[in-house]
């Protein structure tokens, strides 16, 4: 039954507009530069070589997204719906690869699996097959981004009505077919949301692809401004990236079922009976173990190995690491709080007050995520030095940059949990005499608390690992674990980088544990 779109309350709309505009600052910066020299910028943008690189990068994004879904979907199913032993542990372990920064992950991979890597030594083999290029980039990115799909899919699986599947089984459909025809359609919103985050991440990543020696689109941007110091070309390419992002967002909104999973039957969900794996138990365990081994144990193992060498060679200062950890926590926590609040506002607008304004705000808030961190940083340098001088190179501006860069992570998590609150429930509350803000506070917020915490945790995690914007925008002397890792690895001092890396993982891991445990609508 059609419901007329309601107008959002003015304060919320204003908040949304401010957030959307702030998130557009990097794109605006690009436009300003491009507008200054439209001709050369266009030339670069439509150059056939550029288009080739675009195609290559899109191919990588597609491959990584597909692989991430292929890894995440079975794990989600196994850990939510079956009687797999130690389900919650597997779920947490499979979410942890998210804490490993992609550049660290790539280094570790090369260290482990590359020529003269640890694995080659361990196996005593002359030479392992090459892991560089498209394959290596694909592998590394898939392994460290699949949790972005795992989280929303698990959360949705917990909420959907198992009676639909029971009905299908009763009609004689085999379990796999039931999964394909009944469960997957209900998972579309989660798959689309997670898939979008993965695709945009691949588009904007530079660390991993450069180490894996794959020339992606961001490599072009980096060449343009790092080697040629050609701001215009870099901005032109960046603008192409923004256009690509818009295309991806459009595809995503087509694919995603906008009216997500409300329960159609009466009353809250009954937890489904776990599906007995029987003889599939061993292969299932093997699959989970393999993923955890490759995506978590291997990288952490290499880090531990290096850190022991680093400690014994005396190149690690624990006092320094303590100060770095404090800074990392500070910046990431502020970014998470502010980012979480902004994400709530945008997600509310998009789900409760749909309309062209809300859509525009939601789309524009993705602008900062698709662009490489350095572009976000330079954009804010540009605007801050011209308009917001007092906050330039303060923690405020850094937090602002982190929020702009990672906002969509929060919006995705909060948006999907908002979508799972049946609108009737809010209408019932209205009928019982509470105004809209009271309903929000007493009904909506408690029900989406899990989603809000999940979104906040995601922003926290990424803010903690962020590098280029931190280097440029943080106050002088404000070093984080990520910047220290960069210090050490840029001269090849990998062993000295291991302790900061491990501490970073230790900081980021608890929110992740929390995420996988409680990413539900009602706890």
């Amino acid at each position: 039954m059609a419901t007329a779109a309601r107008r959002p309350p003015t304060p919320l709309l204003i908040a949304g507009i401010v957030i959307g505009a702030a998130a557009m600052l990097p794109a605006g910066y690009l436009l300003l530069i491009v507008a200054g020299e439209l001709g050369p910028a266009l030339e670069v943008a439509v150059d056939p070589d550029t288009l080739l690189v675009v195609a290559r990068t899109l191919a990588l994004a597609a491959a990584v997204t597909a692989t991430a879904i292929a890894i995440a979907l079975p794990i989600a199913w196994l850990t939510v719906r079956t009687d797999l032993p130690a389900r919650r542990l597997w779920a947490a372990l499979c979410t942890l690869p998210l804490v490993i920064p992609s550049y660290v992950g790539a280094y570790l991979f090369v260290a482990a699996l590359g020529p003269n890597g640890l694995l080659q030594d361990a196996l005593g083999v002359e030479r392992l097959p090459s892991i560089y290029g498209f394959t290596g980039a694909w592998l590394v990115l898939s392994l460290f981004t699949f949790p972005l799909v795992l989280l929303p899919v698990r959360a949705t699986l917990r909420r959907i009505d198992p009676q639909l599947e029971d009905a299908a089984r009763a009609m004689g459909r085999a379990p796999l077919e039931v999964f394909r025809t009944v469960v997957i359609p209900q998972l579309w919103p989660a798959l689309a949301a997670g898939g979008l985050l993965v695709a945009l991440y691949v588009m904007s990543d530079f660390g991993a692809v450069s180490i894996m020696r794959f020339d992606s689109f961001t490599s072009e941007i980096y060449i343009a401004y790092k080697s040629a110091f050609d701001r215009t070309a870099a901005a032109g390419l960046g603008a192409v990236l923004v256009v690509l992002m818009l295309v991806l967002l459009w595809i995503n909104s087509r694919v995603r079922n906008a009216n997500a999973v409300h329960r159609l039957g009466p009353g809250p969900a009954r937890p489904p009976k776990p599906y007995a794996l029987g003889r599939w138990r061993a292969p299932a365990l093997a699959f989970c173990a393999a993923v955890v081994l490759i995506a978590l144990v291997l990288p952490v193992g290499v880090l531990v190995y290096w850190s022991t060498k680093g400690i014994s060679s005396g190149s690690t200062s624990f006092e320094l690491v303590g100060a770095l950890a404090t800074n990392t926590l500070l910046a990431a926590s502020f970014a998470a709080l502010v980012g979480g609040a902004c994400a709530v506002a945008v997600a509310l607008l998009a789900s409760r007050f749909p309309g062209s304004a809300s859509r525009a705000i939601e789309r524009s808030s993705h602008a900062g995520y698709a662009l490489p961190g350095i572009v976000v940083a330079l954009a804010l340098v540009y605007f801050a030095t011209r308009a917001f001088e007092p906050i330039y190179q303060t923690l405020t501006l850094l937090v602002f940059a982190l929020v702009v860069h990672y906002l969509p992570l929060g919006i995705g998590a909060i948006g999907s949990s908002l979508a799972q609150v049946p609108p009737r429930v809010e209408e019932a509350a209205r009928g019982l005499g509470r105004g809209p803000s009271q309903v929000f506070a007493t009904i909506t917020m408690p029900l989406v608390r899990g989603g809000i915490l999940a979104g906040t945790a995601l922003v926290f995690l990424h803010a903690a690992k962020e590098l280029p914007a931190t280097l440029i925008l943080a106050p002088i002397g404000f070093e984080t674990l990520a910047t220290e890792i960069w210090n050490q690895t840029s001269f090849g001092f990998y062993e000295a980088s291991a302790i900061p890396s491990l501490v970073l993982l230790a900081i980021a891991a608890p929110p992740i544990f929390f995420l996988s445990e409680r990413g539900t609508v009602t706890s």
Binding site: N116, A224, S227, F229, L378, V381, T394, T396, F491
Partner: protein, 347 residues
């Protein structure tokens, strides 16, 4: 307003206020004060050089001059781009670049001040900006690194020889590094566009392996993945110093065709700086005898200041290494190089 809403709003306001007061955070470089405490005497340095490679020189200056140096460490090119965006509003007083292109780009935007004559005189002409806006601090040489089990007779005397089929798939290079881009620029300027183009195409056809930076080239030679690599000498020197003389990579200063190309790191003072005198002092400190000795002994680069001796581990003296004429820092030349490399598929 319901309590929880009020609570959230209050929490956010408090957070915003505390951020705005700003600049809180543990300082990690040992010096006090956040960004909002004005240092009337201290200076701000943007350094593309990591702490390990410059920290000692900074400490020396701070001790001697009894002044504080606030350092922002980041990638050289990122810093250059930042300086350009900041324009005249930059908080930086000094910029230390690891590659000449970056500092040239900043100079071309008119952001660097002319250095006083005593500073300029300390450094030979070929190691500083012709317009006096920056001076070199250290020199590194782009050399041929090779696996130590390769006999000397096999070593080619010119990088141009690396396109020979005997080297197929055995050579590593870094097209994305300024090291190689400088070399291509020199080739273009000294020997013409055609030679450069032919060489690039030849290298690509010969299966030269791409690496993102010099470190990985060195490591690849050490691991046996490749036999030869075009990289900066000091990476190998540092590894030898750290690991010992049996480190499996050696360097060969190819005598022909600028096979051994001198590349500079440079320092300049920002025109917008309000503490130019202090900044010039800092520059002086870097190119003083002590400063130069620090650099050469820690990072194994060559000193550029007149009369300073290089670290004993550097066997070939700088004077014997040819360096080209022409302004390697001209950005338009760099852009033309990039275009050529992209055309030939090297980049």
């Amino acid at each position: 307003m319901p309590t929880s809403r009020l609570g959230i709003t209050a929490g956010l306001l408090i957070t915003a206020a505390s951020i705005a007061v700003g600049g809180c955070g543990a300082s990690t470089d040992g010096s006090d004060g956040g960004a909002d405490e004005p240092e009337t005497e201290g200076i701000t340095l943007y350094s593309g050089r990591i702490p390990a490679a410059i920290g000692g020189a900074v400490d020396m200056y701070e001790a001697e001059a009894d002044r504080d140096v606030q350092v922002r460490f980041a990638d050289t090119a990122d810093l250059a781009a930042t300086l350009v965006e900041e324009g005249g509003a930059s908080p930086a007083d000094v910029f230390f670049a690891q590659e000449p292109g970056a500092i040239g780009a900043v100079a071309d935007e008119g952001l660097l001040a002319e250095l006083p004559t005593d500073i300029l005189d300390r450094v030979p002409e070929k190691f500083r900006d012709p317009d006096g806006r920056w001076v070199g601090v250290t020199a590194r040489v782009r050399v041929l690194g090779y696996a130590d089990d390769i006999p000397m007779s096999e070593l080619p005397d010119s990088p141009l020889d690396l396109t020979d089929p005997t080297f197929e798939g055995r050579v590593g290079w870094g097209p994305a590094t300024s090291t190689l881009q400088q070399y291509v620029t020199v080739l273009r300027l000294e020997q013409g566009e055609e030679v450069a183009r032919e060489w690039l195409e030849g290298m690509v056809d010969n299966g030269a392996v791409d690496f993102p930076d010099n470190v990985s080239i060195r490591d690849a030679i050490a691991s046996g993945e490749i036999d030869f690599g075009l990289l900066n000498h000091y990476y190998v020197a540092q590894a030898v110093a750290a690991e010992g003389d049996d480190y499996p990579v050696e360097v060969y200063f190819q005598p022909d065709d600028f096979g051994s190309l001198i590349l500079l790191t440079g320092v300049g003072v920002l025109e917008s700086s309000e503490r130019k005198q202090e900044a010039f002092d800092f520059v002086r400190s870097l190119i003083s005898d002590e400063g130069q000795e620090f650099f050469t002994s820690t990072s194994k680069e060559y000193p550029v200041a007149t009369g300073v001796r290089a670290d004993p581990s550097l066997e070939v003296p700088l004077s014997e290494i040819p360096s080209p004429g022409g302004d390697l820092t001209d950005v338009t030349e760099l852009q033309a190089t990039i275009e050529l490399m992209q055309e030939t598929g090297a980049l």
